[in-house]
Amino acid sequence: MTADARRPQFTPEQLAEVRRLQGLYPDKQGALLPVLHLAQEAYGYVSLEVEEYVAGLFEMSPAHVHEVVTFYTLFFQKPKGRHVVSVCHNLSCHLMNAKGIIGHLEERLGVSPGETTPDGRITFLTVECLCACEQAPMMQVDDRYEGNLTPEKVDRILDGLP
C-alpha cells in the first residue's frame, strides 16, 4: 500500500471515476457508498482524514461521512491485515459447527475475532449470515466465498494465501 491514508489525495483517474459515479445518481450524494469503497481500495481503510477528504468531494460535513462509515461493517476505520477472513456464526453455520471453525482459527492465528495477526497478515472477524448457508459452515476470504469448511480445509486455504 503506497497511498497514504493520513494525507489522502486521489489521482486524476480516481477523481474522474468519482465524477462519473456522482453523475449516475439524481443527487450526487447517492455515490457516497461507491466512493467510500473506492477510497478504501486506495488506502486500505477509511481514516478520519479520508472521511474528511471524501466529505470535501461531496461538499458535505465530515460528520455525515463519519456517521455513514461507522454504520456499515465493510468499512474499516483502522488498517486491516493483508487478508480479511470473516467466519459466519449465524444460525445455519452454527448448526454445522461454526464454533469449531472459529475455535480452530483462534488457535491457528493466535488472535480473537476482531483482531489482526501481529505480522499484519490476517484480520479475523466473525460475521452474520453471508447467505451461502447451503455451504455452511461458511467464510469469506477477501472477495471469495469458501464453504463446507473443515479445520483441514481452513488450513489449506490459509496456507494458499500470498
Binding site: 455515490a31 457508498l33 461493517t73 465493510l74 449470515c129 447467505c131 448457508c133 471469495r144
Partner: protein, 423 residues
C-alpha cells in the same frame, strides 16, 4: 398436484448450463422474447397481467406485485425509479445469489419490462457488499445488454429509454428493509423511514419508486411470455407461480430448490432435500428465514405459499428453510438468533434497540449456566410489549423467533435454568 406441475422449472431452468449467465445462452433458450412483446404493450396492460398472474413479492412481505406497481401516481411527470432489492441478508436465504450468478439477463429483462410498466427510466440494483461475484457477473451482463441495444436509449426502436445502475452496499442487514435500502442508496446510513409516505409515492431521492426483490422481477418475463393464467395456475389460490426455496441445516442435500408454491414443507425436506442427515429425527424447522417463527415436526404438512406457514403462526418470508435435527439445543439456537438481532438493529427505535440487546443478554446467560427463573417470562414480556411499536418490521421479525422458540421448547430452557440454579 400433478407430476407436471411439480417438475415445472422457470427460474432454474438453465442453472445446470455452464454459460447460463451469458447473453448468447439466454437468447438461445428463449431469453429477451418477452421484452419486444412488453414494449408493444400499454404500460397498464403489463401491470394488469402481473396482477392477474397472482405474483406476490418474493423478498419477504409477499405484497401483490401488480398492486404495488399500481400505486405509482398516474400521469405524474416526476422521474420514477425502479429499485431491485438484491441486498439478500435474511439468515437462511441464498436464492438471489444463485439467480444473479446464473441468470442475470432474466433480471435485466424483467427490469426493463417492470420499468416500462411504471414509467421509469432509471433502475438501481442494490447488491449487498459481500456479494462480489454476483455483482461482477451482473455487471458483465449489463454491459452485454447495453452493447446489444437492450438497455439505454430507444430500446429496440421502441422509443423507450432505460438505464441500470449497480449499487454496492457495505454490510448492514437493515439495508434489506426497503426504506433502509433507499436511505442507503441516497448516501446515508441505512435508517428505515416512517411509512406513509410509501416509496411508490415518495421513494428514492424523493420520487415515486418501486422496490422489488430480485426473484420477483425475474418472474416477470415468464409471465409476459406465457401469460398470467399459466403462472397463476402453477400456484395456489393465494399466490401464483413457482419460487425458490433455500434449504440449509441438517438435510442430506442442502441447496436451492424450485417448486410450485403448492409444495409442502414436508415434501421439500424429505423428497427434495433427501431428509434428515445421518438418519436422525427432525426436531424443528424455520420456514421463512430467521425472522419466521419456528415450527415443530407435526407442523410441516403445510403448503409453502403465503397462507401455509401463516396458518401455524409463522410466515413464508424469504422462503429460507433452516432444518434442525434432534441434537440441536434450541436455547443455543435462540442465543445465536438473538445475537444477530442485537447486532443488526439500526438503533433508531427505543423498543427495538433496547429489547434486542436485553434479550440477547438474557439468552446468553441461560446458555452460560447463569439463567434466572424469571428470564423466560421476562423475554416473552419484553418481546410482546415492543411488537408493533417500531418504525420498521425488523423488530417484529425478531419477536417471531423469541416467542416461538420459548413457547414451543419451553421445557428445554427450563431444564437449563434449573440446572444453573442447582449448580
Amino acid at each position: 398436484m400433478s407430476e407436471n406441475k411439480t417438475s415445472e422449472k422457470i427460474f432454474t431452468r438453465n442453472f445446470h448450463l455452464a454459460d447460463s449467465h451469458t447473453l448468447r445462452l439466454y437468447r438461445e433458450t428463449g431469453g429477451y422474447t418477452a421484452l419486444p412483446k412488453a414494449l408493444r404493450m400499454e404500460p397498464a396492460a403489463i401491470t394488469e397481467e402481473v396482477k392477474k398472474a397472482n405474483l406476490r413479492g418474493l423478498g419477504g412481505a409477499a405484497f401483490p406485485t401488480g398492486v404495488k406497481w399500481g400505486f405509482i401516481p398516474k400521469g405524474s411527470t416526476e422521474p420514477k425509479y425502479l429499485v431491485v432489492n438484491a441486498d439478500e441478508g435474511e439468515p437462511g436465504t441464498f436464492k438471489d445469489r444463485y439467480l444473479m450468478e446464473r441468470d442475470p439477463h432474466a433480471l435485466i429483462e424483467g427490469m426493463v419490462i417492470a420499468a416500462r410498466a411504471i414509467g421509469s427510466h432509471t433502475g438501481f440494483v442494490y447488491i449487498r457488499g459481500e456479494y462480489v461475484k454476483p455483482w461482477r457477473v451482473l455487471d458483465g451482463a449489463v454491459k452485454e445488454a447495453y452493447a446489444a441495444g437492450l438497455l439505454g436509449q430507444n430500446i429496440q426502436g421502441s422509443g423507450f429509454d432505460f438505464d441500470i445502475v449497480l449499487h454496492r452496499g457495505a454490510g448492514a442487514y437493515i439495508c434489506g428493509e426497503e426504506t433502509g435500502l433507499l436511505s442507503s442508496l441516497e448516501g446515508k446510513k441505512g435508517w428505515p423511514k416512517i411509512k406513509p409516505p410509501f416509496p411508490a409515492i415518495k421513494g428514492a431521492f424523493g420520487h415515486p419508486t418501486i422496490v422489488n426483490n430480485v426473484e420477483t422481477i425475474m418472474a416477470v418475463p415468464h409471465i409476459i411470455n406465457r401469460g398470467a393464467a399459466w403462472f397463476a395456475g402453477l400456484g395456489t389460490k393465494s399466490q401464483g407461480g413457482t419460487r425458490l426455496y433455500s434449504v440449509s441445516g441438517h438435510v442430506v442435500v442442502p441447496g436451492v430448490v424450485e417448486a410450485p408454491v403448492s409444495v409442502t414443507l414436508r415434501q421439500l425436506i424429505y423428497d427434495r432435500c433427501g431428509g434428515i442427515r445421518g438418519g436422525k429425527k427432525l426436531k424443528a424447522v424455520v420456514p421463512g428465514g430467521s425472522s419466521a417463527a419456528i415450527l415443530t415436526p407435526d407442523e410441516i404438512d403445510i403448503q409453502m405459499d403465503v397462507e401455509g406457514p401463516k396458518s401455524k403462526g409463522s410466515m413464508i418470508g424469504s422462503a429460507g428453510i433452516i432444518v434442525m435435527d434432534e441434537t440441536v439445543s434450541i436455547p443455543e439456537a435462540l442465543m445465536v438468533v438473538a445475537r444477530f438481532y442485537a447486532h443488526e438493529s439500526c438503533g433508531q427505535c427505543t423498543p427495538c434497540r433496547e429489547s434486542t440487546g436485553w434479550i440477547y443478554k438474557m439468552s446468553r446467560r441461560i446458555i452460560e449456566g447463569k439463567g434466572r427463573k424469571e428470564d423466560l417470562d421476562t423475554i416473552l414480556d419484553v418481546a410482546k410489549r415492543g411488537a408493533g411499536t417500531t418504525i420498521c418490521a425488523f423488530y417484529d421479525g425478531a419477536v417471531g423467533p423469541y416467542i416461538s422458540y420459548i413457547e414451543k421448547f419451553r421445557s428445554e430452557f427450563e431444564d437449563l435454568i434449573m440446572r444453573s440454579a442447582h449448580a
